[in-house]
Symmetry: C2
Subunit: 432 residues, 2 copies
């Protein structure tokens, strides 16, 4: 279909029936052109897209609480969401009629604000929180026990155990946790918003949106590592190869329905931007343990050199009485030392963090920071130990505050159009 023909069809100049008949359940064509195929991420596969997918420039992640105890309504929504995501991530609108070809007396299936926008490498990635398994939907801790409302309590992964309470946590419960987590990433803010809006819209009556967070990150023109709002490269030693992903990211078959999935730990890390900007370059680099410019560890080399945690500090001043005789190039409490896999059994995580900026607070300070997201095969071993070490000793804690936290079992990939998110979990209990 030529771009021109597609556009004509979209704008209702062709018959609505012809358009709808051509695409059926996967939705109405939105923007078909030769260029479009290069900005699409395959939806179907062993693993969900949006985990090992190269980071797109925009994020919206939301948690939803299920407000029904009827498992058939929940599974029907999951099937609808899956079909919608397949359509959206391949550049289609949602529903049978799209934005413009429905019956005038009915609301359009799609609001249309992404019409003729690029697909923008859109990914939509879904997972389940612990509360989906073991508790009614509630924000009140006192109600966080109770019935096995969906009959899946014995299918809850051990790896989804609650995160411990970390020192310095300042968590806002209304921005934390949730029954279902949905991560939308795209290289276009409006495409991302359109997708999350569509996801939320059809959840009405089954789920309420509990919280939502928008983020952004920009890749330098030379394709070097992106920087966070501290101005430092973030994600230098990240996981990329299939072997690394298999070893650290993709879940095994305990429980079986999670085989090929992954566990997401998300933490909203507020940065005190104004204070950081008055901190000396040397202090910033000592806190991180890397040079700000090229990202090399303070022990030398380049960004991708292994840190030498034993290397002595060159040109160190003579120690004062009571100080250690020999200072190290990478300070004892530097962020990269505390977090390094060598201190945590060699276990690693896939970081997928986004910068966020939610305006300013009542005192005129930036409400901004890092929305930290880490994927692993088991957060208890891959994520909690470094987070605990950082929470205890990281000097960076003077410049950050963890204001929200969530954890989701991100399900395995959708294998084909007959599959749907969570099918292996629910098919033993659902009426389907």
């Amino acid at each position: 279909m030529s771009a021109e023909l597609s556009r004509r069809a979209l704008l209702g100049l062709a018959g609505a029936g012809a358009v709808a008949a051509g695409v059926g359940a996967v939705g109405v064509a939105r923007a078909v052109s030769d260029a479009a195929a290069s900005d699409r991420v395959e939806f179907y596969g062993e693993h969900q897209a949006g985990i090992a997918t190269p980071v797109q420039s925009h994020l919206i992640v939301s948690a939803f609480d299920v407000n029904t105890d009827d498992v058939s309504r929940l599974t029907a929504l999951l099937q609808q969401w899956t079909a919608m995501a397949a359509a959206l991530t391949s550049g289609h609108e949602v529903g049978d009629t799209g934005a413009f070809n429905g019956a005038p007396a009915a609301p359009p299936d799609d609001n249309g604000e992404a019409t003729l926008l690029p697909t923008a490498n859109l990914t939509i990635t879904v997972g389940f929180g612990a509360s989906l398994f073991r508790q009614p939907s509630s924000r009140k801790p006192s109600e966080r026990q109770g019935s096995d409302r969906f009959g899946v309590v014995d299918q809850m992964p051990a790896a989804l155990a609650d995160l411990p309470a970390f020192p310095m946590d300042a968590l806002d419960a209304s921005r934390s946790d949730g029954d279902i987590g949905v991560q939308v990433c795209a290289d276009d803010a409006q495409v991302a918003m359109h997708a999350m809006r569509a996801i939320k819209r059809v959840a009405f009556g089954t789920c309420v949106q509990r919280w939502s967070q928008t983020g952004f990150v920009s890749r330098p023109t030379d394709d070097s590592t992106p920087r966070n709002l501290f101005g430092f490269k973030d994600g230098t030693a990240n996981l990329t190869t299939a072997d690394e992903l298999n070893a650290h990211v993709w879940a095994d078959d305990e429980p079986g329905w999670m085989a090929g999935g992954s566990y997401l730990v998300a933490r909203r890390v507020a940065m005190t931007i104004e204070v950081w900007d008055r901190t000396s370059l040397a202090e910033q680099e000592d806190i991180i343990g890397r040079r700000k410019g090229d990202g090399a560890p303070l022990s030398g080399g380049d960004e991708f050199s292994e840190p030498d945690f034993e290397a002595p500090l060159v040109d160190a001043p003579a120690p004062l009485p009571g100080e250690p005789l020999q200072q190290r190039a990478i300070p004892e409490l530097a962020h990269i030392r505390l977090a390094h896999p060598s201190r945590h059994g060699g276990r690693r995580m896939l970081r997928r963090g986004y910068n966020y900026q939610d305006g300013i607070d009542d005192l005129g300070r930036w409400d901004a920071g890092l929305f930290f997201m880490a994927y692993s095969r088991d957060p208890r071993e891959h994520v909690v130990p470094p987070l605990a070490a950082l929470a205890r000793d990281d000097v960076m804690n003077e410049y950050i505050r963890h204001t929200a936290s969530a954890q989701f079992a991100m399900v395995p990939g959708v294998r084909d159009p007959s599959d749907w998110w969570g099918r292996d979990l629910f098919e033993g209990t659902s009426p389907f």
Copy 2:
């Protein structure tokens, strides 16, 4: 300078002195490459960039309140801001040393999070609110009279008169007004944030950030008119030619310091997204007065056809007793009828609206809508009459709420590196 050489210099591998000496006051080179020149908007000129400049995909607009009565500190800040904006919009970092080449014991001049990012058509545009002229910085209405703190009260433009209170206004004072307005636009969210952060940082001690709003808009792949979160094209009949801009947008010389400037009216228009998405296509189109798909007026033609407000409704059902005998294709209270320049003396405005999405509210509803921005030579004649007509009669009011409002006299362009924002206003009163 090659990209490689530039990067080496940036990362501190070349001497800091050599870098600083090469660029002087306009800042350290950030990302120099052959491609970069194509994504820069010229900073100097008769008019400020960012007004008639084609809309970039990301917006951050903030208001600042001056918290000193010392005019020399204010004018020093305006000069510093001007130099910073000239550097940033030409792809440089701020300050003499940038992010990585300063003294280790001092904070970096630039935080560095935009290092090696594209310039992304960054524009920074500045204007003054009425409170700068006539009142001390305060959010309390009871304090909104008082001293002529900067000696410019007789230079306040008549066109900057307060907007009237419109019916249905639900304005949050803490998100409204302000002494100085700064609009940052760029095709990259991180580049925009970096610029506003730098602007705010150097204002410390002279200004506090009063409010800040982030926005986005995406241009379709066929370069057609962007859509707002109602899914409709927004900006169809916008001003583009020099004649149009001269007639409707650029201010005259009353007062003289504003000649070539323009007046910005900004309104934060919250949309009830969830309700809109349950509204029929016919109702949506009747509210706007245009077809959702191609944007054509309901009287026929295409997007750019002039609406025929007298055209009868084809295939109208027979009127019931009490209804008018003949319905019109474009309903009596359609948005485009109420707002059309033909009803307002032919006066027009340059719309520069952005979609916004600030997460969800306490009830789980989207906190999203349109950050309406309109530039004109005199809001009293070009903007207030259509806004008043819409506030009174627009059926769209059932789906929107005006939650914030601001107005700024956006100063004329900076003519050359010796000029600075507001110089013509302050040079008669400042000690320079």
